[in-house]
Amino acid sequence: MKHLLTIADLERSDIERILSTADSFSEVAGRDIKKVPTLRGRTVVNLFYESSTRTSSSFELAAKRLSADLISIRSTGSAVDKGESLRDTVATLSAYDPAAIVIRAPWVGAADIVARSCTASVVNAGDGKHEHPSQALLDVFTLRRRLGLESLDGLNVWIVGDVLHSRVARSNVLAFTRMGARVTVCGPPTLIPREVETLGCDVSYDLDRLGEADVVYALRMQNERMDDAFVPSLREYVACYQINSRRLQPRQVLMHPGPVNRGVELSADVMESPQALIVDQVASGLVVRMAILYDLLSARDQSGERGGTPEPTVGQPA
């Protein structure tokens, strides 16, 4: 695999391979010295055209843990702000011969554009409202660990909230269903995209059947949606769709990609309940992103030949 652009591109076996690599990196994360020399001497570029805390920081830390040299570029103050096109920025950065470029941009297909205009491996860290594949992989990883399952076969997942504007929803519907789960998306009709069933999920406009869910995945309700009047009021939205202790059952687990609008899509009590995996998701983000970089870059080292299960743990601490 040269790039990670979309979940739609991945087979179930690709997902399983990356997650089993992430399992190995989890052991590294438990050590005193958390660094491995896997990517020593190689350069990773983080190119972020949108604000991001957890995604950018976890990709940065992932690159550092793998001993890569790291360049982080944010749109503020860079040539990007001076009107340079994405292609030209990538051409400029290519002069450093990066092994990987991690890109987040507000445009659908931005990662594909980068992949077409340079020789580096490209990781899509979010392209417009299209996909956020590393988030979906870390969510599957988190769920597998928490539930102690190899696959998600037969699991019932509800994704609740603003599906229309969510790249996390798109990637997660695809990733969860690839792994065998049954996914239902739920939200107000104005925030459910047309023909969403074609992604392979069911649709519900209310939470009446939420009890069926094994996993409740709440999406961020962005305040700017209120300006566009997608819902009549936030108050009513909360009344209809908030996941709170009244709605969340003890056997269910709760996920959220963050950052949470406390009191909107989630009530404070469920956030702090042991059912909530929100902090686990962040922790998984680091090892899964290490696994992604490892998967893309080691494959190129071995010119397509992959030696079965990677063994990052055998490397000496850097």
Binding site: S85, H130, P193, R194, T198, L199
Partner: protein
Amino acid sequence: MNSAPKTPRFPRVTLCSRAAVPAETLFRSAWLLDPRADLNGPADLLVSDGHVTEIGPPGSIDPPPGAEVVDAEGLHLFPGFVDPHVHLRTPGREDEEDLESGTRAAAAGGFCCVLAMPNTDPVVDGAPVLRALQERAAREALVPVGFLASITRGLAGAELSEMVELAAEGAAGFTDDGVPVADARRMRQALQYQRLAGPVLALHEEVPELSGTGVMHEGAISTLLGLAGIPSISESVAIERDMALAAYEDGRIHILHVSAAESVAAIERGRAEGINVTAEVTPHHLTLTDDAVRSVDPRFKMNPPLRSERDRQALIEGLRSGVLGCIATDHAPHSREEKEEPFERAPMGVTGLETAFAALHTELVAPGVIELPLLVERMTAGGLPYGLPTPTLAKGARADLCLADLEAEWTVGESGYESRSENSCFAGRRLRGRVLMTLAAGSVAWRERGFAIRLAEEDDQPARVAARKGTA
């Protein structure tokens, strides 16, 4: 439904092209196809002094001294195509297209007449801009060009353009193409003023609030890609409104670039009710669907957007039934820098003049979806909504025709484009059918390069060499 002006007192549409030597050409043994003139078979056709002067059985006509002889056996001769919807980007964006390059692209596609849209900079919303364009076309255009003027000043939707004066200067019609006339009252006033001014109102139909920030067709693909969608009903709801207004004011409207099944159904109903409405459809909407946008390639971004297969089938049916009476390319050149932006930021629009016939021949005629005569009929009918004469091969007519090789295969873009822009949605596609020669307003406007070379190599009669005069 015929759309000729209701009363003869209205001024005529002005068409302008540069002066050229009238053609003296004998097409020998061509397959003549002109459904309106009931021609469909092999014949010799002689063009003298820019007019069709003789049609006879193959091999029956001797070339007059000095005439060029084109051995057209195995080739088709059609009436010249008319494109009622092109953007020639002049004035204002001559880096993308000018009157010369745009009409050369038209001639290369077999078009002998085009109508240019007024969304230029400045907008064609007053007589001085229109006159300047006509003068420029009279110096630069290779095929006759008519110009539409805007319905509202600056396309702003607030005040009507000076429709009477613009019509008096020969405006072909009125349109705010690129944007809809959102204000229903303004649309009603334009229809009222049509009684005074004459020309048809050509409408870009869209409800801005329904289109929102959409960049592609709303459906499964937009959902998969997370791109904001433009629903089909954005178009059909606007069409329903404007047909109701046209019915009420007894006006005449032409619907630009119909893209949705709901729209075809609406126009069909309107025509059945006697509303004076005509409509056009583009080659890209007839041959491509939103599936092409999976590539997130801005070359597939245009407005209205490529829609679903169901819509495409409805458009083909509308073309067959005549609800969609003509084909229009909506040729919309854009600079490479702009078209290489990410999909959401790239401008809407694709070029189409050079590929229209070949794309439709390849995708619709070759597989047997529609018959060749129907395609020729619809590609030559673009002037009807504007009251322009339709080109014909009939004896006595001015030579407005094109010669095509239906077997020739070519790859779009392989040797560049005549247009100054290269944003073709068919780029890289292998197409079957190529226009070899176009006569417009009685003169040779285009000769395909390979074809010209072949003629020269095969020349064995001095008359043929001597005849190569007045060519493009």
